[in-house]
Structures are given as structure tokens and as C-alpha cells.
């Protein structure tokens, strides 16, 4: 048993707890501890990606209890990619926050670590109740992070966010109760086996449980009727927090993949996930349309980015609901791109807002801007990547999605939704950019120069954003190996029997009874 597997949960837990106890530490030490922990997680993420490339499934039995009795952590290609993405994203967020945003409230770095612990745990766990617990861990930390810095807007958005997620947790427990009552297990592999062999009479209840889970993950991922908390919450949060939250909706997506394709997807003939997929398709398309309209109608760059998160959720869910291996691989590539780029835009909104005299990141207010050339160039490059134009990763991912959806039913809807939303995003971003970087100079060029003098360009923050954009570019540059890896990841997801064998193989070989 490889004890390295537990590190992505233990490292942030210990760092966070230590930071909590040592809150009197000066901020410099807190920062270096936070950054150090994130660096370790990046190293682990790289190890996990390599390890998952060698062995399809790596198991970690907590307390050495054999599954299905104990809790088991499962590392496969999908979770490894998500772990590395989270680690990289968190590293940049913490670096950006270390330039001052972490002073706005207390315990920023400790909360960040607890948040990472929850996210990493959710990606690794092979137990449905444990998934609930890690969801709660990441939610509790996110409640506090959302409120970081205080203020009226954050209190208001935080109240909505907390209440809807508490209701979601109650529904999650209901679904778990139903599943446990029917099958007597919460281990994902065991559940998959038992659901596939469930008697006819249990099917309606199983369907109810799967739909409840869809609502729960829909809240996390911001799927159509449950997305109205997101724009307000994400635009109220401080920039590094909002950037980290870019991964939170993807946790919902990951949970859907894991639960609906593996746990409910074992039976090849008539998998129990049919109803969910049927619901997911229209809701995802409307989510996508609504997000695109929101992007066009947003009054500030942060709100615009929040709606871009919704667009990305719509695309991910729509591709997931088509239930195709190749399309899942393509949407995983899109997930990497969209997480990275929405995070970039949350940070960029803060960076640009910092150098404007007035109006922060609002579009309606014309105000002089300092460092126009640097910020304008970064914005242009990031916008080209965000709008999925070549040569960036967005273009590769969307082209791949469009290409691999060609053979599937309803592909015209997907094509129309993706292409039109892309056009709307280009329109909104070019309007924002031209309004900011061209117009103000005509008004008061001299004034902007005085602002520039008083506020020197923050090189660390700008560099952080630039590196993130460069990662998006290198995703496109090294697209072939990444695509191969993601294809293998999607292939594993679509072989749930392999997952079940890996987790329960020993148990079955020792004569354990899996299903009647």
C-alpha cells in the first residue's frame, strides 16, 4: 500500500491546522507556509499523474480496512488530472493573494488549506458518504473564504450561498439514505455492483436517489435552475478566492462523472443513469444559453467571468449527457482550459480594477487606466484564449468537442449552442477591452500618468496571471500528450467494471459475497 496517496489530504490538513494555531505568526511566515504546502501539492499532483499513467487504479485503504467495509481512496487518471489542476490553481491563487489580498481578513491561508483538503479528498475518495464529508469540508471553508474581507455585498451573497448549499447537503443525505437503505453499502464500487444487479422493484427508488444526487451536484456545479447564487457570490468574493472557486463547479462535474458513469453506469444493457442523462441534456443546453446571455449583459468583468463559469458548466454538462467516451475526453480537455482561463479573468479583473481611477472593474464608468500597454496586452492574449480562438487551448478543446460530437444524436443543438455562445463571448470581451484600453486615453492621458506614478505595476501579480495564460498556451502546444492521457482517462471512466474489480477484486477472490 502506497502511503503517498493520503498526502493530498494530510498536507493541507496539517498546514491549515498549524496556521490556525499559529495565527499570531507574522503574515510572511503564514504566506511561506501556504505557498510551501501548495508547492508540495503540485509535486504530488505530478507524481499522481505519472503514477496513474503506469497503474490504472491505485488504492489506499484507510486504516487497512478492506473495501467494501473501510473507506478507500482511489487514484485513477481522472482524479490525478483533477488533483494536479487543483494544486496548480491553488498555487497561483495563494501567490496572488500573498501580494496583499490575504490581509483583508484573518485566517486566509488556513482556510485556503482546508478548502484544498476538501477538494483533494472529494477527487480521491471511493466512498459516497466520504464524498459527502469532503464536500462539507470544502463548503465550510468556502463559506468563510467567500466572506473573506467582509462587506455588505459579501454578506448578502454569502447568505444565499450558505443557505442553498445547506439545503443541498440535506438532499445529499436523503439520497445517501435511500441508497444505503436499498443496497446496504456506500462504497462506490460495491454500490455500482449492487445497483447493476438491483431487483426490478427497487428501480424507481434508485432513480429517485440518482435524481436527488443530480440536484445536489447541480447545486455545486451551478446547473440551470440552481445557478442563480453563482454570479453574485463569485463577483462578490475577493479575486484569489473567486479564482480558486473556478475549480468548485468542476468538483460538481467530477462528482457527476464519478457517480453517474461509474456508480450508476455499470450495467451495459440498461444503466440506471438514463433518466439523469435525459434530464441533463436540456438543462445543460439552457444553462449554456443563459450563461452566454449573462456574459453579454454583465456590467462588470467579475460578473462577466462568473457567467463564463456558467457557460463552461453548460458545455461540460451537455457533453457529459451525450454519454460518449470520446466526447468525455474532449470535455475534460475543455475543463482544464476553462478552469484556468476563468481563474485568470477573476485575477485580471482585480488587477485592472486596481489601476483604474474609478469604477474598479465596471464597464459603464469611463476612467483613466494606468499601465495600459502591459495590462492591455495581457487582457488581449487572455481574451483570445478565453474566446477559444487559435492558437490557444480553448480552440483545441472546442474543436475536439465539436468534432467528436458529430456522430451523436442532437449534435446540431450542441454545435449551435457552443458556437453562438462563443460568438457572444467574443463580442462581450472585445467590447470590454476596447472600452477600457482605447477610450480612456482620449479623456485624460495626463491624469492616467499620475495614477501610474503613484501605483507602480505589481510585477508579481502580473507575472502570476501571465504564467497562467502561458499554461493555457502550453496546453495547446503539448495538446497531443495531454489528449492521449485524457482519452485514456475517459476510457477508464467508461469501464466501470474495471473500477469495481480494482476495488473489490481482493474481496471477491477471498470468497466475499458481492451481490445476490
Amino acid at each position: 500500500m502506497n502511503h503517498l496517496m493520503i498526502l493530498p489530504v494530510v498536507i493541507p490538513l496539517l498546514t491549515g491546522a498549524f496556521l490556525l494555531v499559529m495565527y499570531r505568526y507574522n503574515i510572511g511566515r503564514q504566506r511561506s507556509l501556504g505557498i510551501g504546502s501548495c508547492l508540495l501539492l503540485v509535486v504530488f499532483g505530478i507524481w499522481a499523474v505519472l503514477q496513474a499513467g503506469v497503474a490504472d487504479y491505485t488504492l489506499y485503504r484507510l486504516g487497512n480496512w478492506a473495501p467494501p467495509f473501510g473507506i478507500v481512496l482511489v487514484l485513477d487518471r481522472l482524479s490525478a488530472v483533477m488533483l494536479l489542476l487543483t494544486a496548480l490553481l491553488s498555487l497561483f491563487c495563494v501567490l496572488y493573494a500573498s501580494r496583499g489580498s490575504d490581509r483583508e481578513g484573518s485566517h486566509f491561508h488556513a482556510l485556503m488549506q482546508f478548502q484544498l483538503m476538501g477538494i483533494n479528498g472529494a477527487f480521491l475518495t471511493g466512498d459516497l458518504f466520504n464524498l459527502f464529508v469532503f464536500f462539507e469540508v470544502l463548503l465550510i471553508a468556502s463559506y468563510a473564504l467567500l466572506l473573506h474581507g467582509g462587506g455588505r455585498a459579501r454578506s448578502r451573497a454569502g447568505l444565499h450561498y450558505v443557505i442553498i448549499n445547506l439545503a443541498g447537503s440535506a438532499l445529499f443525505l436523503l439520497a445517501l439514505g435511500i441508497l444505503y437503505g436499498l443496497t446496504g453499502t456506500l462504497n462506490m464500487a460495491d454500490l455500482a455492483h449492487r445497483i447493476a444487479n438491483a431487483p426490478e422493484a427497487d428501480l424507481p427508488l434508485l432513480k429517485a436517489a440518482s435524481l436527488l444526487l443530480m440536484v445536489v451536484f447541480g447545486i455545486k456545479a451551478a446547473l440551470l435552475p440552481l445557478l442563480f447564487w453563482l454570479p453574485r457570490a463569485y463577483s462578490a468574493a475577493s479575486a484569489p478566492v473567486a479564482a480558486l472557486f473556478a475549480i468548485m463547479t468542476k468538483v460538481g462535474f467530477y462528482a457527476m462523472v464519478r457517480v453517474f458513469l461509474v456508480v450508476f453506469g455499470l450495467d451495459d444493457g440498461a444503466p440506471a443513469n438514463g433518466t439523469v442523462m435525459a434530464w441533463l441534456w436540456p438543462t445543460a443546453l439552457i444553462t449554456l444559453a443563459l450563461g452566454a446571455i449573462g456574459v453579454l449583459g454583465a456590467a462588470s468583468l467579475r460578473t462577466l467571468t462568473a457567467y463564463m463559469v456558467i457557460v463552461s458548466v453548460g458545455i461540460l454538462m451537455a457533453t457529459l449527457s451525450r454519454n460518449d467516451e470520446q466526447l468525455l475526453a474532449a470535455s475534460l480537455f475543455y475543463l482544464l482550459h476553462s478552469t484556468c482561463m476563468t481563474a485568470v479573468f477573476f485575477l485580471l479583473a482585480d488587477l485592472i480594477g486596481h489601476y483604474r481611477d474609478d469604477g474598479y472593474d465596471r464597464f459603464s464608468i469611463i476612467s483613466p487606466l494606468a499601465h495600459r500597454w502591459v495590462l492591455g496586452t495581457v487582457f488581449l492574449v487572455a481574451a483570445v484564449s478565453m474566446a477559444s480562438l487559435p492558437p490557444f487551448s480553448g480552440f483545441v478543446s472546442k474543436a475536439w468537442i465539436l468534432q467528436s460530437s458529430l456522430q451523436l444524436p442532437g449534435y446540431l443543438w450542441l454545435w449551435a449552442a457552443i458556437l453562438i455562445s462563443g460568438l457572444l463571448i467574443i463580442a462581450a470581451l472585445s467590447r470590454a477591452g476596447s472600452g477600457w484600453f482605447w477610450r480612456p486615453q482620449e479623456h485624460s492621458a495626463t491624469h492616467a500618468r499620475t495614477v501610474a506614478k503613484t501605483r507602480g505595476l505589481d510585477h508579481a501579480r502580473t507575472a502570476t496571471v501571465c504564467v497562467m495564460v502561458a499554461i493555457s498556451f502550453s496546453l495547446a502546444l503539448f495538446a497531443q500528450p495531454v489528449m492521449d492521457y485524457l482519452e485514456a482517462a475517459a476510457k477508464l471512466v467508461y469501464q466501470p467494471s474495471g473500477y469495481v474489480n480494482a476495488v473489490l477484486g481482493d474481496y471477491i477472490r477471498q470468497g466475499g459475497e458481492v451481490a445476490e
Binding site: F129, V133, E136, I140, Y143, L147, G151, R152, S155, R156, G158, L159, H160, V162, I163, L166, A167, S169, A170, L173, L174, L176, G177, I178, Y180, G181, G184, L186
Partner: protein
Amino acid sequence: MELVIAITLGVLTSTGVYLILRARTFSVVLGLTLLSHGVNLFLFSMGRLTTASPAVVGLVSDPTDPLPQALVLTAIVISFSMTAFVVVLALKAAVELRSDHVDGEDPNEDRQ
């Protein structure tokens, strides 16, 4: 016993949902509490409803399943702490926004 549990669950859940949909934060918090009570009771009853069978192997021939009780314990701890958090948050919001409406302002205030 099944009927009593079922009716209790129904009453707790429906009252909880009704209160969650109210506009004032206090009733919403109360609703969340009732809903989580209902959920905990539901989770507990998933270990099947029997009497006089403790969750200890060896005492009786047919011991109860201990897992739902462990799950409920976890769920209670989480829902309890979250209720405490949401109460504090609601208070903070009520002080900062000068309103206990869930949206921070009463949309019908001008009309009254």
C-alpha cells in the same frame, strides 16, 4: 412505529421546506434546522426499524446495523455546526444590511 416515523418525517420535511421558502432569515434558519432533523431521522430509519436489538454483535441474535447510527452522528455534528454558522452569518448580514430579509432588502418595503 413505521406510520409514526413516516408522519413525523413528512411533517418535519414539509414544515422545513415551507420555512426555507420564507423571506426572513430567522424562519429560513429554523426551516433548515427542521429539514436536517427530518433528514437525520430518515437516515436513522434506513437501518430498519426494530426494537430491543442493540447495535452490538453477540448480545442478541439479530443486532441492528450500526452504520446508519454512525452516519447520523456525522450528519448531526455537521448540521449542528452549520446551523450555528448560519445563525451567526444571518446576524452579521442583518446588522450590516440593516434588514433581516434574505435578499438584504425588502422588495415591498416602499409599498408598505
